[in-house]
């Protein structure tokens, strides 16, 4: 191979990359926080919400889990404006990530809730707690603790999936890479570098989530 690698463009373009990196971080922060919140809400509805609402939530979850994120993003950004819902690239990207993670995390959390020993519900009931109170105070935290590793993996997957928001011109790491390679014609180097950035981001995110986990759940869960 006679190809010579060339990273001489890096000093000129690193601010572009940095800006993309910040956008990606912002996307995953909002996505993870709101997405998990949505997931908890959906899992709660499916466990003890009104009967008519449960199939609605189930349909949302199935629809999201069985379609590509890219299409969800396009539908939100290009399709929704025809219903009068205009939004910026970044807003659309944020919304798509929240909706996506919400569906996945609700399934994960539901599994955690279903693994709760029957005795916990019965103990709550025997102490005169309502079903909501039992869910909120007795069931939810151990359930989240049980599935925290699975939830963390899903958040990392969603972060990596966010690379496609560049396709609606949200200015994330991938967008920066596309921009740079169109100027420098150094496609391989640019994507190599941004891939490495994503890898570091994934490692850092995994570490951060582990930290959050030990903050949220300081005591060992009883199985």
């Amino acid at each position: 191979m006679t190809y010579r690698f060339d990273f001489s463009w890096l000093p000129l373009y690193w601010p572009v990359i940095l800006k993309g990196l910040l956008t990606t971080v912002e996307l995953i922060l909002v996505g993870a926080l709101c997405g998990v919140a949505l997931g908890v809400a959906c899992a709660g509805v499916r466990a003890l919400g009104p009967r008519w609402l449960r199939p609605v939530v189930a349909a949302y979850v199935e629809l999201i889990r069985n379609t590509p994120f890219l299409i969800q993003l396009f539908f939100i950004f290009f399709g929704l404006p025809s219903l009068g819902l205009q939004m910026s690239e970044l807003q659309a990207a944020n919304l798509a990530m929240v909706v996506n993670l919400g569906a996945y995390s609700s399934e994960i959390i539901r599994a955690g809730i279903e693994a709760t020993p029957r005795g916990q519900f019965e103990a709550g009931a025997s102490l005169a707690m309502t079903r909501f109170e039992t869910f909120r105070h007795v069931v939810l935290i151990p359930a989240l603790q049980r599935i925290w590793p699975a939830l963390s993996s899903q958040i990392v997957i969603v972060m990596l999936g966010s690379a496609v928001v560049s396709q609606i011109a949200a200015e994330d790491v991938t967008f920066a890479a596309n921009f740079i390679q169109s100027r420098t014609f150094r496609a391989f180097e640019t994507y190599f570098l941004s891939t490495a950035l994503y890898l570091l981001l994934a490692l850092a995110l995994r570490q951060a989530l582990r930290g959050v986990g030990s903050l949220l759940f300081p005591r060992r869960a009883a199985r």
Binding site: L63, F69, I71, F75, F78, S82, A163, T174, F188
Partner: protein, 219 residues
């Protein structure tokens, strides 16, 4: 301006969906074969093999599939080949699929209890015989539901190949949108077609899993 009926749109999308199906099959089968080879390295006795597969998995599960597609596309180009999109798409998806399947399958092999290894060893079986007659038959049964489940990820993953210019369902969606200016209808239909492809797979994975949990037994 030309007017397009919903049927026109759907027909064009369905024609493109054939490529989504084909690419999914190729990626899943190719990824399965590669994953199987990696599995034997991963659970084998040689340390170098295990480390290699661990690194491989870390790399492909820790980076976006989109980046892998770009690198395959532009990386193959470095060899001076004019890379067709389908080649880069197939290659990247196979490598990516293998990285996930090998981890799923490793979990299944490790779910077979130590007692099974010991009992078969005490009967005089060697490593290959233990694998062939005792461990893998049990692991395969555990592996079927999550493997079918992962095939959904492969189908959805093929959507990203539109970005490097492979014309499948998602790319067709963009093309048809640009021709019809009906993004809501077009992307809605695209989503429904993906759903029609993926949902049966998801559902059968769930059913298989439930069936497996009820009866651990064969026949």
């Amino acid at each position: 301006m030309m007017t397009f009926t919903v049927w026109d749109i759907l027909r064009n999308l369905l024609l493109a969906a054939r490529w989504t199906v084909l690419l999914s099959l190729v990626s899943f089968l190719g990824g399965g074969l590669l994953g199987l080879a990696l599995l034997f390295l991963r659970i084998g006795k040689r340390r170098a093999g295990r480390l290699f597969v661990q690194g491989y998995v870390e790399l492909f599960q820790g980076t976006p599939l989109l980046m892998q597609l770009f690198l395959a596309f532009f990386g193959l180009g470095l060899f001076g080949i004019d890379v067709p999109a389908w080649l880069a798409a197939g290659l990247a998806l196979i490598l990516w699929t293998a990285a996930f399947l090998v981890e799923i399958w490793r979990g299944c092999v490790e779910s077979v209890t130590r007692g099974q290894w010991e009992a078969s060893a005490s009967l005089g079986m060697g490593y290959v015989q233990q694998m062939r007659y005792v461990i893998l038959p049990q692991a395969v049964r555990v592996a079927i539901p999550p493997t079918v489940g992962f095939s959904v990820q492969v189908v959805k993953g093929t959507a990203l190949t539109s970005i490097i210019g492979f014309v499948e369902l998602s790319k067709a969606g963009t093309v048809v949108t640009n021709a019809t200016f009906q993004p809501f209808t077009v992307y809605g239909l695209v989503a429904l077609i993906y759903f029609a492809l993926c949902w049966p797979l998801s559902k059968s994975s769930q059913i298989l899993e439930r069936k497996f949990n009820v009866a651990h037994r064969h026949h």
